[in-house]
């Protein structure tokens, strides 16, 4: 599904020097994989995730998503591809505080120009699937951390992406809440969704079927 070849991410510093966040990354992820990217702080895990999620465009190398050469696409084309194929789950949930749970789920669909009635049906299905129908009119500040992350995951999968990218999805949660989220990921993966997560937790990594170690920007 995903192939990276020679991907590098560099930030310029003063006096002509450079800081390498990622160096010569080669990576293959097959469809249906549940991959955990691990490594110490500053290893480049989140940067790699954002490159995979097509949020970051400042990298070099080759990136194939299916048959599509992402490295040859313009930013707008990448955004369209991302909207279609990828869902993102953030450590800090990143729900929109002034929107209800329903509206937070609706937002990604509205940006994909899905029709109103179809959106309503998809949101209703997702609320039901995640058993949060009763919370649809609540605001994020009225939910617990675990419930917010649940909504974050629901938002990530509402448009049926092929790939979910999760950046420390349980980082701000209690262990029991974290377990719930990881079990959910496991379930989604068993239903065919490819998942790539960044995690510090060995326990969370164990939910996946593959671990990639990063150190100082290199895959080790």
């Amino acid at each position: 599904m995903i192939r990276l070849h020679g991907v590098e991410r560099v930030y310029p510093l003063a006096k002509g020097k450079f800081f390498y966040v990622l160096r010569d990354i080669d990576l293959d992820v097959a469809e249906g994989d549940f991959v955990s990217i691990m490594g110490p702080s500053g290893a480049g895990k989140s940067s790699l995730l954002h490159i995979l999620g097509m949020h970051d465009h400042g990298w070099t190398g080759e990136y194939f998503f299916g048959d599509t050469a992402v490295h040859l696409l313009k930013a707008k084309e990448r955004a369209a591809l991302r909207n279609e194929q990828i869902g993102f789950v953030f450590q800090s949930y990143h729900l929109l505080d002034d929107l209800t749970v329903y509206e937070n789920l609706d937002i990604p669909l509205s940006y994909r120009h899905v029709g109103k009635s179809e959106r309503a049906a998809m949101v209703a299905d997702t609320l039901d699937r995640f058993q949060i129908v009763g919370k649809k009119d609540l605001y994020p500040r009225q939910l617990s951390g675990g419930q917010q992350q649940l909504v974050g995951v629901a938002r990530a999968i509402i448009s049926n992406p092929k790939l979910i990218l999760a950046d420390e999805p349980t980082g701000n949660l209690h262990s029991s809440q974290g377990e719930e989220i990881m079990n959910l990921f496991k379930k989604l993966n068993s239903e065919g969704t490819t998942i790539i997560q960044v995690t510090h937790s060995e326990k969370n990594a164990a939910y996946g079927n593959r671990i990639i170690q990063l150190r100082d920007g290199w895959v080790v």
Binding site: H55, A79, R82, F90, H94, D98, Y111, R112
Partner: protein, 819 residues
């Protein structure tokens, strides 16, 4: 306190853009306020330049049945009032006059007045040189003395210390200067609304004793003088009014031949101040309202800016409080900053006001003469200072209170996001922008209505064709023109010479020019209609015109004929009337051929035959309906004061010099005054209105600029505040268009609510303008719609840049900053 001021200065210096915009906003608002306050102070509040002016009154008469109000008195009537009234310390009579001053260069017409000996003493202003008039000098043959103004003394005599005793040649006669009035002395004020301030009435520079002739003292119905009086201490206006009514009753009984007995004749006592200001008050109050709105919008702008600034300083304030600062201390710091801003803005505003007032005087003093008196005196400076400090406290209070009670926990944590207090402040900021838009809409709507009305007024037909017509005034001195024959001879010769000039199509004279601010009327009787002694005789406006007058000004002939040169003093008396008079008195008949007699019916009436009916002319104003008017041949009833009207096939101003030469070829000592095209006469008649429209337009423009700055500021701040949210949305798939729609949509929502509120307020507020509007409703829908559209476009423009900035938000940075 010094510490707070030092810190405030440092803090403002660190944010130069914010400080400059704040000062500019305040300067605009306070400057406009100061300028208009100066106007209001000088024109409405400041006492008239006489001793104890609150006790000065004018006494005028009315004939209610004939719709004649505020008309002058006759000499016998003045004598009656003067001898019988007990409510006044003193009464004096005066009339407008012009003098032809002969000097070495060329003759010059000087505006002046004739006054009885009591006038200057009762005004309570002493001459700086010489003396008042003596009562003996107010007799025919003894009134060859004058008092001059300081301005004339300065301009013509270089403040010659020996001026008293100097001989002046006025109207071909020698007069001795006996006194000089002080600088700034002005009487009679041109805004007494007595109808003589325009034509033949400039600012008086020469005063001559008023000496009633024996003939004048016999004639009760020839009213050309006004009465000024000083109430006795403790006497009210109402008491004086009651006494005057008693005297009028006595006059009616004692001279029943001269007054109808139906009670329509009477007198009115007016406060001098009230007469001077009444005409200006509505416009000035509207202007004052406008600048108050501008000030409020400015304050709202400043409050939103300071609220935004407070939000960015939340952490600083939280630290201060955590270190022990009490709420009052924090409030004091914020208020110091806002008052400092206001004082700086006030100082710049004062400069703007000085320039603004100078500009106003430059463009408006010729049409609103008292504008000359406008300046920034101590009272206005104090009001400005008070306004500055008041606005500083006003717009600083809300953010000050917000800063004084920060949410410590949220603010001291790194990256606290959407707190309850933050949401409250956002709502407050939004509410302020909505108010700004609403107020700007009210102001803009008012200005637009006045502009539309003014355009309609300017396009209103005056009843004649003013294009390519030159007018000029000539006042013949009695010494050289003692009788009608000499006057007519001069007039005929002048018209003949002028008509012979290349480019001249028609040359004529009239005694009263339309839209020039003067009037004259006469009572008459209609053949075959016996007047009831108890009912008032018809009384309508009357002018004296030469044969080519109507051709010269382009008024159409409806029935009958124009005058000809054969309608002279030896011919049968004839008269031309306008359509309004024909409709009023001969509604279903042909008025041509009917006969009237001037004054009352007598045993041997001199019948005057109506020979023509002309179109109606707007005489008192472009916005006034034409009144019934009658015209007699100048040759049959000449006057020494006449106005030449000359129609040309080209720019008539090119003829001015040639016409003056022709007149002075007849009489080298005869000055020609007030040379204006007829278009200029019309423009002058609407000049006060034009000034109001201009000023209101400027203030409305300022309000829109301020409101758009407010919108820009709020939306910019919104974008900064919502950078994280925009980043998340972009991470979730929002495209550039979606972000633009989000930001601009928010702006349009605020402006939409503001517009709705503003329309509601304008609906009631513009009622105050109805009296000033000409053929435009105060609820003119197209104007309201246009203004709403303009504000919408302004909002779009103001929010576009911040919206564009929002599209450039990097979701990566936004997300990482708030992780």
């Amino acid at each position: 306190m010094l510490k707070e001021i030092r810190f405030a200065l440092r803090s403002l210096a660190k944010s130069p853009a914010f400080t400059l915009i704040a000062i500019a906003t305040l300067a605009l608002a306070i400057g406009a306020n100061t300028a208009v306050l100066s106007l209001v102070n000088a024109l409405l509040i400041r006492p008239l330049p006489y001793r104890a002016p609150q006790r000065l009154v004018l006494l005028l008469q009315h004939f209610k049945a004939q719709n004649l109000e505020r008309i002058p008195v006759s000499p016998p009537e003045f004598i009656d009032y003067e001898s019988r009234a007990q409510s006044f310390e003193r009464l004096g009579a005066f009339g407008y006059a012009n003098f032809n001053l002969a000097n070495s260069n060329k003759p010059e017409r000087i505006a002046g007045a004739v006054v009885t000996a009591g006038v200057f003493p009762l005004l309570g202003v002493a001459p700086v040189q010489g003396r008042f008039f003596e009562p003996e000098e107010c007799k025919p043959g003894r009134n060859d003395v004058v008092i001059i103004s300081e301005r004339l003394w300065r301009q013509k005599f270089s403040r010659d210390a020996q001026i008293v005793g100097t001989k002046l040649l006025l109207d071909g006669k020698s007069f001795t200067v006996v006194g000089v009035m002080p600088e700034g002395f002005d009487f009679p004020l041109q805004l007494f609304n007595l109808g003589a301030g325009g034509q033949f009435g400039g600012r008086a520079d020469i005063w001559q004793p008023l000496a009633f002739t024996d003939k004048e003292l016999q004639v009760r119905y020839s009213r050309s003088y006004f009465i000024v009086g000083r109430l006795k201490p403790g006497t009210s206006l109402a008491q004086a009014q009651a006494e005057i009514e008693t005297i009028n009753d006595q006059m009616r009984r004692e001279h029943s031949d001269n007054y109808s007995q139906d009670g329509s004749f009477g007198g009115d006592v007016f406060s001098l101040k009230e007469l001077a200001v009444a005409g200006m008050r509505p416009a000035l109050l509207i202007l004052l309202g406008a600048v108050v709105l501008v000030l409020l919008i400015g304050c709202a702008n400043l409050t939103t800016m300071l609220l935004a600034r407070a939000a960015s300083r939340e952490r600083e304030m939280a630290i201060r409080v955590a270190l022990g600062a009490g709420p009052m201390r924090v409030l004091k710091q914020v208020l110091t900053e806002s008052v400092l801003l206001a004082l700086l803005g006030g100082m710049v505003g004062l400069l703007l006001a000085v320039w603004g007032v100078d500009l106003l005087k430059h463009i408006g003093a010729s049409t609103v003469p008292r504008l000359r008196e406008v300046n920034l005196d101590l009272r206005v400076l104090a009001m400005t200072f008070g306004t500055a400090v008041g606005t500083g406290i006003l717009f600083g209070l809300v953010p000050g209170i917000a800063c004084a009670k920060p949410e410590l926990t949220e603010s001291l944590k790194e990256g606290g996001r959407s707190s309850t207090q933050g949401r409250r402040r956002n709502r407050l900021r939004s509410a302020l922008v909505v108010s700004e838009v609403a107020l700007a809409l009210v102001l803009l709507t008012s200005a637009a209505l006045l502009m539309k009305s003014f355009v309609r007024l300017q396009n209103a037909s005056p009843g004649f064709d003013p294009h390519n017509v030159l007018t000029m005034e000539v006042s013949l001195p009695e010494l050289r023109y003692p009788d009608n024959t000499t006057i007519v001879r001069f007039s005929d010769e002048a018209q003949r010479r002028i008509a012979a000039l290349p480019g001249v199509q028609f040359a004529a004279v009239t005694t009263i020019l339309p839209l020039a601010g003067t009037n004259s009327d006469s009572s008459f009787a209609i053949e075959g209609r016996t007047n009831d002694r108890n009912a008032p005789a018809p009384d309508e406006e009357k002018r004296e015109v030469s044969a080519n007058y109507f051709r010269a000004i382009g008024t159409p002939l409806i029935r009958g004929r124009f005058f000809t040169v054969a309608d002279n003093a030896d011919a049968q008396p004839v008269i031309i009337i306008n359509q309004a008079l024909a409709k009023k008195y001969w509604p279903n008949q042909d008025a041509v051929g009917k006969r009237i007699v001037m004054g009352g019916m007598s045993s041997h009436p001199t019948w005057i035959t109506i020979v023509g009916v002309v179109g109606d002319i707007k005489h008192t104003g472009l916005d006034a309906e034409p009144k019934p008017e009658m015209y007699v041949p100048f040759a049959q009833d000449p006057y020494k004061s006449m106005i030449f009207t000359v129609r040309s096939g080209q720019d008539p101003r090119l003829l001015a010099s040639a016409i003056r030469s022709q007149i002075q070829a007849i009489d080298p000592a005869q000055p020609v005054a007030n040379i204006r095209t007829f278009e200029q006469v019309i423009a002058d008649s609407v000049a006060p209105r034009r000034l109001s429209v201009l000023l209101l337009g400027v203030f409305a423009g300022a309000a829109v600029i301020l409101a758009s700055v407010g919108i820009y500021g709020v939306i910019s701040f919104l974008v900064v505040q919502r950078t994280y949210e925009i980043g998340v949305r972009m991470a979730l798939g929002a495209q550039r268009a979606d972000v633009l729609r989000l930001v601009i949509g928010r702006a349009l929502k605020l402006v939409g609510v503001g517009t709705a509120v503003g329309l509601f307020l304008a609906f009631f507020g513009t009622r105050a303008l109805q009296a000033l509007l000409y053929r435009v409703s105060a609820f003119d829908a197209p104007t309201f719609l246009l203004v709403s559209l303009i504000l919408g476009i302004v909002a779009l423009a103001a929010s576009y840049l911040p919206a564009l900035r929002a599209t450039r938000a990097d979701p990566m940075i936004a997300l990482s900053q708030n992780a």
